[in-house]
Point group: C3
Amino acid sequence: MPKSTARKGRLVIVTGIPGVGKTTVLTAALAACNARSVKVDLVNYGNMMFEEASKKGLVKTRDEMRRLGVKTQVQLQLAAAKAIARIAAKGNVLLDTHMFINTPIGFMPGIPSWVGESLKPDSIALLEADPAEVSKRRQKDAAIRAREADSPERISEHQLLGRSGAAALAVQTGCTVVIAHNREGAAEAAAKVIADLFM
Amino acid sequence: MPKSTARKGRLVIVTGIPGVGKTTVLTAALAACNARSVKVDLVNYGNMMFEEASKKGLVKTRDEMRRLGVKTQVQLQLAAAKAIARIAAKGNVLLDTHMFINTPIGFMPGIPSWVGESLKPDSIALLEADPAEVSKRRQKDAAIRAREADSPERISEHQLLGRSGAAALAVQTGCTVVIAHNREGAAEAAAKVIADLFM
Amino acid sequence: MPKSTARKGRLVIVTGIPGVGKTTVLTAALAACNARSVKVDLVNYGNMMFEEASKKGLVKTRDEMRRLGVKTQVQLQLAAAKAIARIAAKGNVLLDTHMFINTPIGFMPGIPSWVGESLKPDSIALLEADPAEVSKRRQKDAAIRAREADSPERISEHQLLGRSGAAALAVQTGCTVVIAHNREGAAEAAAKVIADLFM
């Protein structure tokens, strides 16, 4: 069932595969909200999970997170979801996360049903980019962050699977789905699509 | 879980984006059922929701419906679902609705899980058409019904999201999914695909 | 919610449409597991359902299964799921099934939510092949197994719907999704992707 009337702000989840340009777009979206005097907290699901994992001594770096077993990640997801729900109860939240995380054992859902049920988002915004552009960006970043040099075909599969996951979550929770296209040199346009969800 | 054995007829949901030619196909599907002496009630989900909204004084025209908040639409969805379930208990129902409604805050699920659970459809028939044709039809109708002049690319996204939503509902409720193609000048063929679901 | 800690092995579901080459790939995957001394039981969902149906006198041949009503198939699905869960409690299981079965009344979900909840798979591996190749294989087999001579377009729809169903199940149960491509003459590569899920 959809969210209760107790929540004060809106909870908008933004997902996007590595290399889609999410950091740039989220920064611009927050700036657009600020320019319109709309207060929004940016929360990173991975950071929240990393905090929980660090506390438990499971990992030392963020990159080690994807090597954790499915079971451990599920527990961290739930702990993070509860923490985020507490923030969302007080005001607008822009939640930075992934629909599917590419792990050694397949695409793991970043927002499984029990997390969706706990978060009860208003909207899921899928930030997408041209797979060929994403592939190029990943190759440039390879030295720094050791991303998989995925082919455009594999990137496209990952991105499309995200749409299906969002549709499933929308059907489950009643949230809306927004597809925001991050075209080369047009991050502001994608940011506006996201910022408008708080207006 | 799937529908109980108490229901007498079949409940077939037909979805399709604006401009897909749904009205024409549904009319032809009903005629095909009549020609074979199979009694089917055509029910429009939007009309049922509009009736409920009108009773509550929330709207005066059908077009105002998509300006309502998510929470209000959810309540109207539930009220309509209950009314439809009462009709379906007595005989065959062809339910005209949308998988995702294009609202100012994104694609809103027309058949969220609690509605699916309440309806327990036998089948979901996705009426689809070539996005370029849909785009042309929308432009022609613009003067009359003020539809968004969507690009074929956006229309394709909307249509594909509908398939993902139908797959999610099929997994949830056990209903079957049918993709009916409404090709230019061949509405009868699409209508037959839908009518056959009642044979 | 995800699987309990009581299970000893991993449960990997492999789905693929008729003609995708699943039998060949599964045989090679089992051989790869054996070569690495990893014990895996191959279980065929259709066979388990057929056993249950035979016991009840509902069918005599495997092909008659798809002519059964939805309600009967649901009961058979549940009985099979329980039997499989008992096997999976003891060790690794490779479960051969379908995401959507092409029936006369549409694509029926092979792993509806109550089955997914009962199985709690670790991963769903979607075995896919080029629709044109699948179409050719079906035409060659037509004399023997009376498969529908589907067009590549229809085959592509069926295959894509499977991805959406897998995404929905992943969101529901937390399992991972793997897309394994069965390219012409490269069944070993697809088999390795599946076998690696047990390492």
